[in-house]
Point group: C2
Chain length 183, copies 2
Amino acid sequence: MYKLTHAELLEQRLTNEQALAKGSSNERHPVSLLLHNIRSLYNVGSIFRTADAGLAQKLLLCGYTPHPPRKEIEKTALGAVDSVPWEYYTHTIDAIHALKQQRIRVMALELTSSSRSFASLTKADFPLCLIAGNEITGVEDEILRECDGALQIPMYGVKHSLNVSVATGIALFEAVRLWKMCE
Amino acid sequence: MYKLTHAELLEQRLTNEQALAKGSSNERHPVSLLLHNIRSLYNVGSIFRTADAGLAQKLLLCGYTPHPPRKEIEKTALGAVDSVPWEYYTHTIDAIHALKQQRIRVMALELTSSSRSFASLTKADFPLCLIAGNEITGVEDEILRECDGALQIPMYGVKHSLNVSVATGIALFEAVRLWKMCE
Protein backbone atom coordinates (compact mmCIF):
# COMPACT_ATOMS: atom_id res chain seq x y z
CA MET A 1 0.00 0.00 0.00
CA TYR A 2 1.35 3.45 -0.90
CA LYS A 3 -0.07 6.97 -0.90
CA LEU A 4 -1.24 7.89 -4.40
CA THR A 5 1.04 10.34 -6.18
CA HIS A 6 -0.15 13.75 -7.36
CA ALA A 7 -0.19 12.48 -10.97
CA GLU A 8 -2.28 9.44 -10.01
CA LEU A 9 -4.72 11.67 -8.11
CA LEU A 10 -5.04 14.10 -11.03
CA GLU A 11 -6.03 11.28 -13.40
CA GLN A 12 -9.14 10.63 -11.30
CA ARG A 13 -10.21 14.26 -10.96
CA LEU A 14 -12.39 16.66 -12.95
CA THR A 15 -11.18 20.03 -14.20
CA ASN A 16 -12.96 23.21 -13.00
CA GLU A 17 -14.69 23.46 -16.39
CA GLN A 18 -15.89 19.85 -16.26
CA ALA A 19 -17.14 20.30 -12.69
CA LEU A 20 -19.12 23.46 -13.53
CA ALA A 21 -20.45 21.93 -16.79
CA LYS A 22 -21.87 19.05 -14.78
CA GLY A 23 -24.08 21.67 -13.09
CA SER A 24 -25.77 22.70 -16.33
CA SER A 25 -26.12 19.10 -17.52
CA ASN A 26 -27.48 18.09 -14.10
CA GLU A 27 -24.80 15.50 -13.51
CA ARG A 28 -23.87 16.98 -10.14
CA HIS A 29 -25.52 15.28 -7.15
CA PRO A 30 -29.05 16.58 -6.40
CA VAL A 31 -28.04 17.97 -3.00
CA SER A 32 -27.51 21.70 -2.53
CA LEU A 33 -26.21 23.43 0.59
CA LEU A 34 -27.65 26.68 1.94
CA LEU A 35 -25.54 28.60 4.48
CA HIS A 36 -27.69 30.83 6.69
CA ASN A 37 -25.82 33.64 8.48
CA ILE A 38 -22.53 31.75 8.81
CA ARG A 39 -20.03 34.11 10.41
CA SER A 40 -16.64 32.49 9.81
CA LEU A 41 -14.80 32.95 6.53
CA TYR A 42 -12.90 29.74 7.29
CA ASN A 43 -16.10 27.73 7.68
CA VAL A 44 -17.33 29.07 4.33
CA GLY A 45 -14.03 28.18 2.67
CA SER A 46 -14.06 24.71 4.19
CA ILE A 47 -17.65 24.15 3.03
CA PHE A 48 -16.69 25.16 -0.55
CA ARG A 49 -14.06 22.41 -0.39
CA THR A 50 -16.66 19.94 0.95
CA ALA A 51 -19.19 20.93 -1.73
CA ASP A 52 -16.55 20.32 -4.40
CA ALA A 53 -15.60 16.89 -3.01
CA GLY A 54 -19.27 15.87 -2.67
CA LEU A 55 -20.13 17.36 -6.09
CA ALA A 56 -23.04 19.23 -4.48
CA GLN A 57 -25.50 20.79 -6.93
CA LYS A 58 -24.84 24.32 -5.68
CA LEU A 59 -23.97 26.42 -2.67
CA LEU A 60 -26.37 29.19 -1.61
CA LEU A 61 -24.68 31.79 0.61
CA CYS A 62 -27.35 33.76 2.48
CA GLY A 63 -27.78 36.66 4.88
CA TYR A 64 -24.51 37.83 6.38
CA THR A 65 -22.64 34.70 5.25
CA PRO A 66 -19.48 36.04 3.56
CA HIS A 67 -19.08 35.23 -0.13
CA PRO A 68 -16.28 35.34 -2.72
CA PRO A 69 -14.21 37.21 -3.60
CA ARG A 70 -12.62 37.11 -0.14
CA LYS A 71 -8.98 36.16 0.34
CA GLU A 72 -9.67 34.14 3.51
CA ILE A 73 -12.40 32.06 1.81
CA GLU A 74 -10.16 31.31 -1.15
CA LYS A 75 -7.28 30.33 1.12
CA THR A 76 -9.37 27.79 3.03
CA ALA A 77 -11.28 26.60 -0.05
CA LEU A 78 -7.97 25.75 -1.78
CA GLY A 79 -9.42 26.66 -5.18
CA ALA A 80 -12.88 25.13 -4.77
CA VAL A 81 -14.58 28.53 -5.24
CA ASP A 82 -13.89 28.02 -8.96
CA SER A 83 -15.41 24.53 -9.21
CA VAL A 84 -18.66 24.86 -7.22
CA PRO A 85 -21.68 26.77 -8.61
CA TRP A 86 -22.71 29.33 -5.97
CA GLU A 87 -25.25 32.13 -5.52
CA TYR A 88 -25.69 34.86 -2.94
CA TYR A 89 -29.05 35.90 -1.43
CA THR A 90 -29.43 38.82 0.98
CA HIS A 91 -32.49 37.17 2.54
CA THR A 92 -32.47 33.45 3.34
CA ILE A 93 -36.26 33.32 2.94
CA ASP A 94 -35.92 34.43 -0.72
CA ALA A 95 -33.45 31.60 -1.36
CA ILE A 96 -35.83 29.07 0.22
CA HIS A 97 -38.73 30.32 -1.94
CA ALA A 98 -36.58 30.06 -5.07
CA LEU A 99 -35.64 26.47 -4.15
CA LYS A 100 -39.28 25.53 -3.55
CA GLN A 101 -40.27 26.95 -6.95
CA GLN A 102 -37.69 24.54 -8.41
CA ARG A 103 -39.40 21.73 -6.43
CA ILE A 104 -36.30 21.21 -4.31
CA ARG A 105 -37.01 19.83 -0.83
CA VAL A 106 -35.61 22.15 1.84
CA MET A 107 -34.44 20.56 5.08
CA ALA A 108 -32.69 22.24 7.97
CA LEU A 109 -29.77 20.56 9.69
CA GLU A 110 -30.94 21.19 13.22
CA LEU A 111 -32.07 19.53 16.45
CA THR A 112 -35.82 20.29 16.41
CA SER A 113 -39.02 18.88 17.86
CA SER A 114 -39.49 16.75 14.72
CA SER A 115 -36.06 16.11 13.16
CA ARG A 116 -35.44 12.84 11.31
CA SER A 117 -32.08 11.07 11.27
CA PHE A 118 -29.58 12.33 8.68
CA ALA A 119 -29.33 8.67 7.62
CA SER A 120 -33.07 8.29 6.85
CA LEU A 121 -33.22 9.99 3.43
CA THR A 122 -35.09 8.14 0.67
CA LYS A 123 -35.53 8.79 -3.04
CA ALA A 124 -38.60 10.97 -2.32
CA ASP A 125 -36.37 13.46 -0.45
CA PHE A 126 -34.39 14.37 -3.59
CA PRO A 127 -33.64 16.88 -5.05
CA LEU A 128 -32.71 18.24 -1.66
CA CYS A 129 -31.22 21.37 -0.11
CA LEU A 130 -29.69 21.18 3.37
CA ILE A 131 -29.65 24.37 5.46
CA ALA A 132 -26.74 24.90 7.84
CA GLY A 133 -27.23 27.75 10.31
CA ASN A 134 -25.15 30.23 12.23
CA GLU A 135 -22.30 28.89 14.41
CA ILE A 136 -24.02 29.96 17.64
CA THR A 137 -27.74 30.24 16.96
CA GLY A 138 -28.18 27.54 14.30
CA VAL A 139 -31.37 27.66 12.21
CA GLU A 140 -34.01 29.75 14.00
CA ASP A 141 -37.74 28.99 14.18
CA GLU A 142 -38.49 31.77 11.65
CA ILE A 143 -36.47 29.86 9.04
CA LEU A 144 -37.58 26.40 10.25
CA ARG A 145 -41.20 27.42 9.51
CA GLU A 146 -40.30 27.72 5.82
CA CYS A 147 -38.58 24.32 5.68
CA ASP A 148 -40.06 21.01 4.57
CA GLY A 149 -38.46 19.28 7.55
CA ALA A 150 -35.26 18.89 9.50
CA LEU A 151 -32.47 16.35 9.76
CA GLN A 152 -30.29 15.69 12.77
CA ILE A 153 -26.94 14.08 13.29
CA PRO A 154 -27.05 12.07 16.53
CA MET A 155 -25.19 13.74 19.42
CA TYR A 156 -23.99 10.82 21.55
CA GLY A 157 -21.81 12.79 23.96
CA VAL A 158 -21.96 15.79 26.25
CA LYS A 159 -22.19 18.66 23.75
CA HIS A 160 -25.14 19.71 21.57
CA SER A 161 -23.45 20.47 18.30
CA LEU A 162 -20.57 19.97 15.89
CA ASN A 163 -18.51 22.57 14.09
CA VAL A 164 -20.79 23.75 11.24
CA SER A 165 -18.40 22.70 8.47
CA VAL A 166 -18.00 19.25 10.03
CA ALA A 167 -21.79 18.82 10.38
CA THR A 168 -22.30 19.96 6.78
CA GLY A 169 -19.71 17.45 5.56
CA ILE A 170 -21.26 14.55 7.47
CA ALA A 171 -24.76 15.37 6.19
CA LEU A 172 -23.69 15.98 2.58
CA PHE A 173 -21.69 12.76 2.25
CA GLU A 174 -24.49 10.72 3.84
CA ALA A 175 -27.04 12.31 1.48
CA VAL A 176 -24.81 11.56 -1.52
CA ARG A 177 -24.25 7.97 -0.32
CA LEU A 178 -27.99 7.44 -0.01
CA TRP A 179 -28.74 9.16 -3.35
CA LYS A 180 -26.31 6.83 -5.12
CA MET A 181 -28.13 3.85 -3.61
CA CYS A 182 -31.43 5.20 -5.08
CA GLU A 183 -30.06 5.87 -8.57
CA MET B 1 -41.47 22.23 14.23
CA TYR B 2 -39.34 24.31 16.60
CA LYS B 3 -35.68 24.36 17.55
CA LEU B 4 -35.15 22.42 20.79
CA THR B 5 -34.52 24.61 23.83
CA HIS B 6 -31.33 24.40 25.87
CA ALA B 7 -33.23 22.59 28.65
CA GLU B 8 -34.64 20.04 26.19
CA LEU B 9 -31.16 19.45 24.75
CA LEU B 10 -29.62 19.00 28.20
CA GLU B 11 -32.12 16.26 29.09
CA GLN B 12 -30.75 14.13 26.24
CA ARG B 13 -27.06 14.66 27.01
CA LEU B 14 -24.45 12.95 29.17
CA THR B 15 -22.41 14.77 31.81
CA ASN B 16 -18.59 14.83 31.47
CA GLU B 17 -18.36 12.21 34.24
CA GLN B 18 -20.87 9.91 32.51
CA ALA B 19 -19.07 10.30 29.16
CA LEU B 20 -15.66 9.45 30.63
CA ALA B 21 -17.10 6.57 32.70
CA LYS B 22 -18.44 5.02 29.51
CA GLY B 23 -14.79 4.72 28.44
CA SER B 24 -13.86 2.46 31.34
CA SER B 25 -17.06 0.41 31.02
CA ASN B 26 -16.50 0.12 27.25
CA GLU B 27 -19.83 1.69 26.38
CA ARG B 28 -18.21 4.24 24.10
CA HIS B 29 -18.22 3.31 20.40
CA PRO B 30 -15.30 1.06 19.38
CA VAL B 31 -13.79 3.67 17.06
CA SER B 32 -10.74 5.67 18.11
CA LEU B 33 -9.15 8.54 16.23
CA LEU B 34 -5.40 9.00 15.87
CA LEU B 35 -4.13 12.41 14.77
CA HIS B 36 -0.73 12.20 13.10
CA ASN B 37 1.22 15.49 12.93
CA ILE B 38 -1.84 17.72 12.70
CA ARG B 39 -0.63 21.32 12.70
CA SER B 40 -3.71 23.40 13.42
CA LEU B 41 -4.91 23.95 16.97
CA TYR B 42 -8.37 24.68 15.56
CA ASN B 43 -8.52 21.35 13.73
CA VAL B 44 -7.57 19.56 16.96
CA GLY B 45 -10.26 21.47 18.89
CA SER B 46 -12.86 20.73 16.24
CA ILE B 47 -11.92 17.01 16.27
CA PHE B 48 -12.32 16.90 20.08
CA ARG B 49 -15.87 18.20 19.53
CA THR B 50 -16.47 15.57 16.83
CA ALA B 51 -15.06 12.78 19.02
CA ASP B 52 -17.43 13.84 21.81
CA ALA B 53 -20.48 13.92 19.52
CA GLY B 54 -19.58 10.53 18.00
CA LEU B 55 -18.68 9.07 21.43
CA ALA B 56 -15.37 7.86 19.99
CA GLN B 57 -13.45 5.43 22.21
CA LYS B 58 -10.46 7.76 22.53
CA LEU B 59 -8.37 10.36 20.77
CA LEU B 60 -4.64 9.71 20.27
CA LEU B 61 -2.68 12.91 19.62
CA CYS B 62 0.66 12.02 18.04
CA GLY B 63 3.90 13.59 16.83
CA TYR B 64 3.73 17.38 16.65
CA THR B 65 -0.07 17.42 16.97
CA PRO B 66 -0.78 19.99 19.72
CA HIS B 67 -2.52 18.68 22.83
CA PRO B 68 -4.31 20.16 25.86
CA PRO B 69 -3.87 22.31 27.81
CA ARG B 70 -3.89 24.90 25.00
CA LYS B 71 -6.30 27.85 25.06
CA GLU B 72 -7.00 27.67 21.32
CA ILE B 73 -7.87 23.95 21.46
CA GLU B 74 -10.23 24.50 24.37
CA LYS B 75 -11.89 27.45 22.64
CA THR B 76 -12.66 25.43 19.49
CA ALA B 77 -13.49 22.23 21.39
CA LEU B 78 -16.15 24.12 23.40
CA GLY B 79 -15.49 21.97 26.46
CA ALA B 80 -15.09 18.60 24.74
CA VAL B 81 -11.50 18.23 26.03
CA ASP B 82 -13.11 17.26 29.35
CA SER B 83 -15.45 14.58 27.95
CA VAL B 84 -13.21 12.67 25.53
CA PRO B 85 -10.50 10.26 26.78
CA TRP B 86 -7.21 11.28 25.12
CA GLU B 87 -3.54 10.29 25.13
CA TYR B 88 -0.40 11.86 23.70
CA TYR B 89 2.39 9.92 21.95
CA THR B 90 5.60 11.54 20.75
CA HIS B 91 5.97 8.88 18.06
CA THR B 92 2.96 7.84 15.96
CA ILE B 93 4.51 4.41 15.43
CA ASP B 94 4.47 3.77 19.19
CA ALA B 95 0.76 4.61 19.32
CA ILE B 96 0.06 2.22 16.43
CA HIS B 97 1.97 -0.58 18.15
CA ALA B 98 0.02 0.03 21.38
CA LEU B 99 -3.26 -0.14 19.45
CA LYS B 100 -2.26 -3.38 17.74
CA GLN B 101 -1.36 -4.96 21.09
CA GLN B 102 -4.94 -4.17 22.14
CA ARG B 103 -6.12 -5.94 18.93
CA ILE B 104 -7.50 -2.70 17.52
CA ARG B 105 -7.54 -2.53 13.72
CA VAL B 106 -5.61 0.49 12.48
CA MET B 107 -6.77 2.09 9.24
CA ALA B 108 -5.47 5.26 7.64
CA LEU B 109 -7.87 7.78 6.15
CA GLU B 110 -5.95 8.28 2.93
CA LEU B 111 -6.12 7.89 -0.84
CA THR B 112 -3.76 4.94 -1.39
CA SER B 113 -3.15 2.21 -3.94
CA SER B 114 -5.48 -0.09 -1.99
CA SER B 115 -7.96 2.03 -0.04
CA ARG B 116 -11.47 0.69 0.57
CA SER B 117 -14.55 2.90 0.73
CA PHE B 118 -15.24 4.57 4.10
CA ALA B 119 -18.72 3.05 3.78
CA SER B 120 -17.50 -0.56 3.47
CA LEU B 121 -16.76 -1.33 7.14
CA THR B 122 -18.10 -4.60 8.53
CA LYS B 123 -18.19 -6.12 12.01
CA ALA B 124 -14.74 -7.68 11.44
CA ASP B 125 -13.21 -4.19 11.19
CA PHE B 126 -14.08 -3.29 14.81
CA PRO B 127 -12.60 -2.27 17.22
CA LEU B 128 -11.09 0.26 14.86
CA CYS B 129 -8.75 3.24 14.96
CA LEU B 130 -8.82 5.76 12.10
CA ILE B 131 -5.64 7.72 11.40
CA ALA B 132 -5.98 11.28 10.10
CA GLY B 133 -2.76 12.78 8.80
CA ASN B 134 -1.14 16.18 8.46
CA GLU B 135 -3.11 18.93 6.66
CA ILE B 136 -0.67 19.05 3.72
CA THR B 137 1.14 15.71 3.59
CA GLY B 138 -1.59 13.36 4.92
CA VAL B 139 -0.48 9.91 6.10
CA GLU B 140 2.95 9.06 4.64
CA ASP B 141 4.07 5.66 3.36
CA GLU B 142 6.22 5.12 6.47
CA ILE B 143 3.05 5.20 8.61
CA LEU B 144 0.89 3.42 6.01
CA ARG B 145 3.26 0.43 6.20
CA GLU B 146 2.26 -0.05 9.85
CA CYS B 147 -1.49 0.15 9.12
CA ASP B 148 -3.89 -2.75 8.58
CA GLY B 149 -5.43 -0.91 5.64
CA ALA B 150 -6.79 2.41 4.45
CA LEU B 151 -10.21 3.95 3.95
CA GLN B 152 -11.09 6.67 1.48
CA ILE B 153 -13.90 9.14 1.20
CA PRO B 154 -14.81 9.49 -2.49
CA MET B 155 -13.58 12.75 -4.07
CA TYR B 156 -16.16 13.49 -6.77
CA GLY B 157 -14.93 16.97 -7.74
CA VAL B 158 -11.76 18.78 -8.72
CA LYS B 159 -9.78 18.71 -5.48
CA HIS B 160 -8.02 15.78 -3.81
CA SER B 161 -8.90 16.30 -0.20
CA LEU B 162 -11.20 17.69 2.46
CA ASN B 163 -10.33 19.75 5.51
CA VAL B 164 -8.94 17.18 7.98
CA SER B 165 -11.57 17.86 10.65
CA VAL B 166 -14.35 17.49 8.07
CA ALA B 167 -12.88 14.22 6.73
CA THR B 168 -12.50 12.87 10.28
CA GLY B 169 -16.13 13.75 11.05
CA ILE B 170 -17.45 12.05 7.92
CA ALA B 171 -15.43 8.89 8.56
CA LEU B 172 -16.23 8.70 12.29
CA PHE B 173 -19.99 9.11 11.87
CA GLU B 174 -20.08 6.56 9.04
CA ALA B 175 -18.07 4.09 11.17
CA VAL B 176 -20.45 4.63 14.12
CA ARG B 177 -23.51 4.25 11.85
CA LEU B 178 -22.15 0.95 10.52
CA TRP B 179 -21.10 -0.28 13.99
CA LYS B 180 -24.61 0.32 15.31
CA MET B 181 -25.97 -1.80 12.44
CA CYS B 182 -23.63 -4.67 13.51
CA GLU B 183 -24.51 -4.52 17.20
